[in-house]
Amino acid sequence: MDGMAADEFTEFMLSRWAGLVRFGYGLTGDQGLAEDLAQTALTRACASWTRVRRASDPDAYVRRIMINSNRSRFRGRRVSEQLTESPPDYPGRELVEAPDERTELMAALMSLPAGQRAVVVLRYWMDLSEADTAAALGCSTGNVKSQAARALAKLRVSGELMNGRLPC
């Protein structure tokens, strides 16, 4: 990676970091894991930056890594360990506003299978089209439609959302 590429990557990372952590939070429901996923994805992007920068959509590349890393996280659960004596206590890590809504929504999201959760976050939070969502997940648009429908059906009857604002 030459100097220009390092600059480019640094700018890319600075501008995408917060969004990727939020995306990761939507996938995992845990900010520490979300930051870990974002860091994993950006590290891989950094390692292959000369290739990634030539891609038509580097953001899609990074999102794809995050989704795959999140899937792998479940495969590797046996050795998933929190190693610090106490978790890093970044200020603002916990939400001050609307904690009830967050708790409800994240509990409902976490009750979904990982694939459906990814569809919900990509399709409804990131506003991706069905085709882009399918590309990010490596599946067909039909699959995205069916996953989204199933996710919505589950959220509709979810106990956590019964008191929420999502209408039946």
Partner: protein, 407 residues
């Protein structure tokens, strides 16, 4: 076209996810790990030791370029260009926990950075004008165990930096940056310790720290990373060396395998042990841990990574040791060379998943047993990933304490 129901879900997701405050982006760590991963790719692709050496050399050269360019990244119009850095001389005792402060000026703007210790919340925190205050370290764990000074990462978003706890002998720490600026840091007492700290804009970074007691130089640090090695006055900073200590292959399931390489880089940072792994058809991972020559002299495992496929022990041995033997139980044993790197011996060992060290011993060139023990050798540090296939967070802990895992 989204339905009303979908739009409401979107609004809720916007509200909840939009309020997540991310920690500062770990730019330096990602660039560093990216470099390790690239090194891993190179090492895995190469099929001969000579090719590996060339790839490692290329990676190290690339790193040098990367750091040099990263340090001078302030292209006009892309990052604010700060021309002048100044450190505020604070009193010998901190007021309101403020232990370091500096002012950056340039391009018609000015920014002030501050580092303070917050004893009531057990935190070290930093902020830059107009921004929020960030957590940068744990106060209780920010200690200086018998050195001139011990450094910790102190950077926040867009402002890399360090803070250090220094010994009582230190009266001043002179800093030079890659922009050739010179700053003087004066220790400030707070929470029973003496502190110095500095943040720099992204377009610049610290190159050297030199500690003084009065007019007497105590030692200096020359670094691109987290400073770990104080070089005595007059001692020449060693030229970079990169030595492969061990390498191997372990099965990774589904017909794949994992090629791993342990190497040691010796240079201005002291000794940095580096382990990279590359899984065919998947990706790479790696860890890196740097230590001073003093720390390297004490024999034992300096870093260990524990993954689903096995564990890697990276350690040092006494200078008279030629090789170590590990009894893995069930009649299996592994013999690994203690490879010299500028006089210090290093070894790297992979334990496959399910393998355990029953006993071990170190031998000299003539085959005489020098020392050994049952179970694993003394382990100084554990460095492990938070997820099996993700990248290590390089979160360290001492085995047997706190929530460190057992092997």
């Amino acid at each position: 076209m989204l339905s009303e129901e979908e739009l409401q879900l979107k609004a809720r997701l916007d509200r909840v996810l939009g309020q997540i405050n991310a920690a500062p982006p770990p730019v330096a760590a990602v660039l560093r790990k990216g470099r390790i991963m690239r090194t891993g790719y190179n090492l895995a692709i190469s099929t001969a030791v000579a090719a590996v050496s060339l790839a490692g050399f290329a990676a190290v050269t690339q790193l040098g370029h990367l750091h040099r360019h990263q340090a001078s990244s302030g292209e006009p119009g892309r990052h604010p260009h700060w021309k002048k850095e100044r450190v505020v001389r604070l009193g010998p005792v901190a007021k309101h926990g403020l232990v370091a402060e500096g002012i950056e000026t340039g391009s018609g703007r000015q920014a002030t950075w501050k580092i303070r210790v917050d004893a009531s919340h057990n935190q070290v925190r930093a902020k830059v004008t107009g921004g929020r205050e960030w957590y940068i370290g744990n106060l209780r764990r920010s200690v200086n165990p018998g050195s001139i000074g011990t450094f910790y990462y102190g950077g926040i978003e867009g402002w890399p930096g360090f803070y250090a706890v220094v010994s009582k002998d230190v009266t001043r720490v002179a800093v030079t940056t890659k922009d050739h600026q010179k700053l003087d840091l004066y220790p400030v007492a707070a929470a029973g310790r003496r502190w110095v700290g500095v943040l720099t804009p992204l377009s610049d970074s610290v190159r050297t720290f030199t500690a003084y007691s009065g007019k007497t130089e105590l030692g200096r640090v020359v670094t691109d990373h987290l400073p770990v090695t104080w070089w005595p006055p007059g001692q020449k900073i060693p030229a970079e060396q990169n030595v492969v200590v061990n390498r191997g292959r372990v099965p990774a399931g589904s017909g794949h395998h994992l090629d791993w390489v342990v190497s040691v880089q010796y240079g201005s940072d002291g000794y940095c042990v580096l382990m990279t792994g590359y899984i065919t058809g998947s990706g790479g991972f790696g860890i890196e841990d740097c230590m001073s020559p003093d720390t390297a002299q004490s024999a034992g495992v300096k870093a260990i990574e524990h993954r689903r496929l096995g564990s890697w022990l990276l350690g040092t041995a006494k200078r008279s040791v030629a090789y170590l033997k590990f009894d893995l139980g069930g009649g299996r044993a592994s013999r690994v060379a203690a490879v010299p790197v500028s006089g210090q011996r290093f070894f790297g060992l992979a334990l496959r998943s399910g393998q355990h060290v029953a006993s071990w011993a170190a031998y000299d060139k003539a085959g005489h047993k020098l020392y050994g023990g049952t179970g694993l050798p003394k382990i100084d540090r554990y460095i492990g990933p938070l997820t099996a296939w993700g990248w290590a967070d390089n979160t360290n802990c001492v085995l047997g304490q706190g929530r460190c895992p057992k092997l």
